[in-house]
């Protein structure tokens, strides 16, 4: 009895804990690497008082942008997953379920595997991000257009999956004809990575990410109403059609943003919301959205740290690390619970 009551009192404590852990991992990410940077030097460099050019360059050009990207990337993916899980009332939905990443992958595949045929000689990182963004947004627009028309949400879910399959099919055909060298790069891209973020990219990611995360928080109230299903939400005065478009648009835009810059990063979007729900013991979105932001950012930061350090100098794909660390935690938390999600 009163299980939820005891959870409720823990919530502020847990949120602070997640925040502190996030900061801790963030600092670790900047300090530790192939070159260890002592705390004192870190502070100096950050205060623009460092005079070691190596430290300056490592921190400002490599580690800081990457750590920030991991934070915003994790937060964005987790919230995107949360929005869609509430929207579809389905716990196994992730941000890629509507085909956003497949769309991005397809355009990237065309660029990387068949670009030579189209006369593209050099692929700059910016071109790559642009291509991924174009692919992701193309699918987003398609999904938004469809979501206004379908009566049942499950239909939308299945259509999203089908679009995903279609895009993957096209990518796979391209893979069959691709050259070995290109293929290796492409496969690495599909596994996602936060390495090589430029400040321009981080700027776009943080600015757009902040706006979209803020917008998703504004949806708290109708999102809560959606917990009882669309019919109840409508009977309480929620404009379902508008809400559908908002949710699909915000969650897809968040996913598109990350996929464009970091490639498809698996698992965070699926597990972030679950971890938040299970540790806090609530589905109340006003608490869950901030918690998911913190947890998503925290886990991604930690996993990126592991990806860099575990088998250094070889860097592991971030998707492999997130799944490897996250899946057992989700399973353990689920087994401990009596209540279903």
């Amino acid at each position: 009895m009163n299980l939820s009551g005891c959870f409720r009192s823990k919530i502020p404590f847990l949120l602070v804990l997640f925040g502190l852990l996030l900061i801790l991992f963030f600092i670790l990410n900047i300090m530790i690497g192939s070159v260890m940077i002592p705390w004192k030097d870190l502070c100096k460099v950050l205060m623009h008082q460092g005079n070691d050019p190596v430290y300056n360059s490592i921190i400002w050009d490599i580690r800081l942008p990457r750590a920030l990207a991991a934070i915003f990337g994790g937060a964005a993916l987790a919230v995107s997953g949360l929005l869609l899980q509430v929207f579809f009332r389905n716990p196994i939905v992730d941000p890629y379920v509507l085909g956003v990443s497949s769309g991005a992958t397809l355009i990237v595949a065309i660029l990387m595997l068949a670009g030579y045929t189209f006369g593209i000689m050099m692929i700059s990182p910016f071109l790559l991000s642009g291509a991924a963004l174009a692919g992701a947004l193309g699918v987003v627009m398609l999904i938004v257009a469809i979501s206004a028309r379908v009566k049942q949400l499950v239909t939308l879910l299945v259509i999203g999956l089908m679009i995903g399959y279609l895009c993957s099919a096209c990518s796979n055909i391209l893979i069959a004809f691709a050259e070995k060298e290109n293929l290796h790069n492409f496969v690495l891209w599909t596994l996602g990575s936060f390495s090589g973020f430029s400040w321009d990219e981080v700027g776009i990611l943080t600015a757009a990410g902040t706006v979209l995360l803020g917008a998703s928080y504004l949806l708290c109230k109708p999102l809560n109403a959606l917990l009882l299903g669309e019919d109840y939400a409508q009977s309480m005065g929620v404009n379902i059609k508008k809400l559908r478009i908002f949710i699909v648009l915000i969650s897809s835009a968040l996913t598109a943003l990350i996929t464009a810059f970091a490639g498809p990063v698996a698992f965070i979007g699926l597990a972030g919301p679950h971890l938040a729900r299970l540790t806090l013991g609530t589905s109340e979105n006003k608490i869950l959205i901030p918690a998911t932001i913190l947890l998503g950012a925290m886990i991604t930061t930690f996993c990126d740290f592991l990806a860099r350090m575990a088998f250094s100098p070889i860097e592991l794909p971030i998707s492999a690390v997130t799944s490897f660390i996250g899946a057992p935690i989700v399973i353990a938390l689920l087994m401990k619970r009596r209540t279903s999600l």
Binding site: S4, A225, S340
Partner: protein, 414 residues
């Protein structure tokens, strides 16, 4: 003025009419139910009244305004729903589920004022769910969930609550509790309640108006006392294996063939016995029963052969003779242990005559009283202290008869 009214309403999906020509008018504080078999279109009507489904034709008026013209936020302050689908809202407490009803009353961020909290608590108290407030909704039983959903609807502070089969999946206690709560809402808060039901008896006992729906048509609309007759109910559900009795307020399963029994009954001693015999496949004859006796109503409802006498009249010789000749066809005779008084003293005579004809009577009566009433034909009276005992004896007798028949056949063949 009616709170909710429909004019020539036709409901359905995608332009196809499921039920047409619905004209109903609900006043403030009325409890109105929709009755009909599964798939008759009750839910479609409910969804259309709730504005979840656009009508195919005609219109719904809420306080004189056409429903589709009312803005969704305004509508949500006038009308609340309890739907029949099973919910899985995740890790949400009962209080939070009920509190969702404040949706149309809270600000953009859904912030809760003290008043919102108080109203939520009040609603939970009203449905006797205040002690569930801190539990997770998904942990509750079906009955508790239904009460919480009613509280949620109530928290919306509507003038109309529409419920789709609120008593399905519930046990008797919760079914009655839910109906009691709904009645209370209509009486104390003046809320108009419209619901679909499967239980005819509940409809009869708690609703002001009933709308009978079958095969896309409105079969009848009016007070349940008026329209729920034996014929309309049989027609509504297309049942001929059972009969609805308005007077009894319930359904009795129709009696059909089998070993025949004659029951000496009266003053309610027969009713449970008829049902028991019916259940075990006996065909039933009974007499002589006064027409103002519950045994008469149950007997006729299950379609037993009833020899009856006018209310408050002494049983006449003609009725007695009929009973004697009818009982002659019976395979077994049972004395239900009716109280013997002046008006039915001929039933005692009936028993004596049967005993005089060397018949065996299975009696549920106290042996001493039986000897006093029927004389001393000790061997012919088989006393059964309980109905279970009675059924066992009747069954073993039946088995014995069959054995004898096969034995005699065997002898003949030899």
């Amino acid at each position: 003025m009616s709170i909710i009214q429909t004019r020539k309403l036709a409901v359905g999906y995608g332009g196809r009419t499921v039920v047409g020509d619905i004209n109903l008018a609900a006043l403030k504080g009325q409890l109105i139910c929709l009755l009909g078999p599964n798939g008759s279109g009750k839910s479609t009507i409910i969804r259309s009244l709730a504005g979840l489904l656009a009508p195919v034709g005609g219109s719904v008026f809420l306080k004189g305004q056409p429903l589709h013209r009312i803005e969704s936020k305004e509508l949500s302050r006038m009308m609340a729903l309890v739907l029949t689908e099973r919910l899985s809202p995740g890790l949400i407490t009962v209080f939070d589920v009920a509190a969702m009803g404040r949706y149309p009353h809270t600000d953009f961020f859904g912030r809760f004022s003290e008043e919102d909290k108080r109203k939520t608590r009040e609603a939970l108290c009203l449905v006797n769910a205040e002690n569930l407030a801190e539990r997770y909704f998904t942990e509750l039983s079906d009955g508790e969930k239904q009460k919480v959903l009613i509280a949620r609807a109530l928290v919306q502070e509507p003038e109309v609550i529409i419920l789709d089969e609120p008593t399905s999946h519930l046990d008797v206690k919760h079914r009655l509790e839910v109906m009691k709560i709904l009645r209370q809402l209509t009486k104390e808060k003046g809320i108009t309640v419209i619901l679909s039901l499967h239980e005819i008896d509940l409809a009869l006992k708690s609703c002001e108006l009933a709308l009978l729906v079958k095969n896309g048509k409105i079969l009848a609309y009016g007070t349940p006392e008026e329209i729920l007759s034996e014929e309309t109910v049989a027609d509504l559900y297309g049942i001929d294996s059972a009969h609805f009795s308005n007077c009894l307020g319930g359904i009795e399963l129709k009696n059909s063939g089998g070993a025949s029994s004659f029951v000496l009954a009266g003053a309610g001693s027969g009713a449970p016995l008829y049902r028991l015999l019916n259940k075990h496949g006996f065909s039933i004859m009974t007499g002589v029963i006064h027409e103002n006796d519950i045994d008469y109503h149950v007997g006729t409802a299950i379609r037993a052969a009833v020899i009856s006498e006018k209310p408050f009249e002494e049983i006449r010789k003609s009725a007695l003779n009929k009973a004697v000749s009818l009982s002659a066809q019976a395979d077994c005779i049972i004395d239900a242990g009716f109280p013997a008084g002046t008006l039915n003293k001929l039933n005692v005579d009936l028993a004596r005559r049967l005993l005089a004809q060397d018949k065996t009577i299975y009696s549920l009566r106290d042996p001493e009283e039986a000897r006093k009433l029927f004389g001393t034909n000790e061997g012919q009276l088989v006393f059964c202290p309980t109905t279970v005992d009675l059924m066992e004896k009747l069954k073993s007798r039946e088995a014995g008869v069959i054995e004898q028949q096969t034995a005699s056949k065997a002898v003949c063949n030899a």
